[in-house]
């Protein structure tokens, strides 16, 4: 593991992050948009862990941040899915473009 340093892992997380952004911008289905958000959050987690591991090995703060992000991501996913189900009951669709009733 000599060759694998911080920058390789950051490349992975960067690519994963923008993959998530791409998905968020193109997907019409709300559940798949939620998946894209999970990807983005995970890429951030990877960053935290990698920085903790390679730059600040004397602390555990990056790890704690990751733990809390995972917790919040779980809560967020649960709430999002509750909203999606509620919208589905109301609109019979989970297409994000159909949920535009709150515009001017």
């Amino acid at each position: 593991m000599n060759e694998i340093g911080l920058s390789e892992i950051l490349v992975v997380s960067t690519v994963l992050f923008f993959t998530g952004v791409y998905g968020f911008l193109t997907r019409k289905n709300m559940i798949t948009m939620l998946m894209a958000i999970e990807l983005i959050l995970n890429s951030v987690n990877i960053n935290f862990v990698a920085f903790n591991k390679f730059l600040y090995a004397d602390k555990l703060d990056g790890l704690f941040f990751t733990v809390f992000i995972i917790t919040i991501a779980a809560a967020e996913a649960a709430v999002a899915i509750a909203i999606i189900i509620h919208l589905y009951r109301k609109l019979k669709s989970i297409d994000v473009d159909d949920a535009d009733i709150m515009k001017f």
Partner: protein, 171 residues
């Protein structure tokens, strides 16, 4: 090229490949499964970096919790085998270009930047160390965020019930 390097590249390709397929697949159920692969890949990356506890959390929460939740919601709202609509072309192209451009920009700066590691003694990310610091009330303890996040989870729990509950209307 050592075995470790090879393993890393395998893990990286699973993560990125799973991610890309998860956001491009036209079948929603498959997308969920690719997401699952990507998340497992991330868990194995944590193993690779010797963060066993985190890897376990990743698997338990993401793989065992969120992905299952997503699959359930797919079942509740969809005919899971249906092909999804194609994304609008101009938007797909624009998003792909923007994402690629941003990726390139970020990578450029990662390449240029000099990261300097700390010289202090390392702290092993063992479960014991994590647990002690997490519940510590001293200066670097995480007890307060821990309690706050528990409140957040409770609020999310109640919120989900309130939002998703089916109110019987008189008909």
């Amino acid at each position: 090229m050592s075995a470790s390097t090879v393993i890393f590249y395998i893990i990286a390709s699973v993560i990125i490949g799973g991610g890309i397929l998860a956001v491009t697949s036209r079948k929603i159920f498959r997308a969920a499964v690719f997401l699952l692969f990507s998340l497992i890949g991330i868990a194995s990356l944590y193993f690779y970096l010797n963060y066993e506890f985190l890897a376990a959390v990743q698997i338990v929460v993401y793989v065992g919790g969120i992905v299952v939740l997503i699959i359930f919601s797919i079942f509740l709202t969809h005919a899971s085998g249906d092909e999804m609509k194609k994304p609008v072309l101009w938007r797909a192209v624009f998003s792909a270009l923007a994402a690629a451009f941003a990726t390139a920009l970020t990578l450029l700066y990662i390449n240029e930047h000099n990261f300097t590691a700390t010289a202090n003694a390392t702290v092993a990310p063992t479960v014991k160390n994590i647990g002690l610091q997490m519940l510590s009330t001293t200066q670097h303890g995480y007890i307060l965020p821990f309690e706050v996040v528990s409140m957040l989870l409770l609020a999310a729990l109640i919120g989900c019930i309130v939002i998703a509950i089916k109110i019987k209307t008189k008909e």
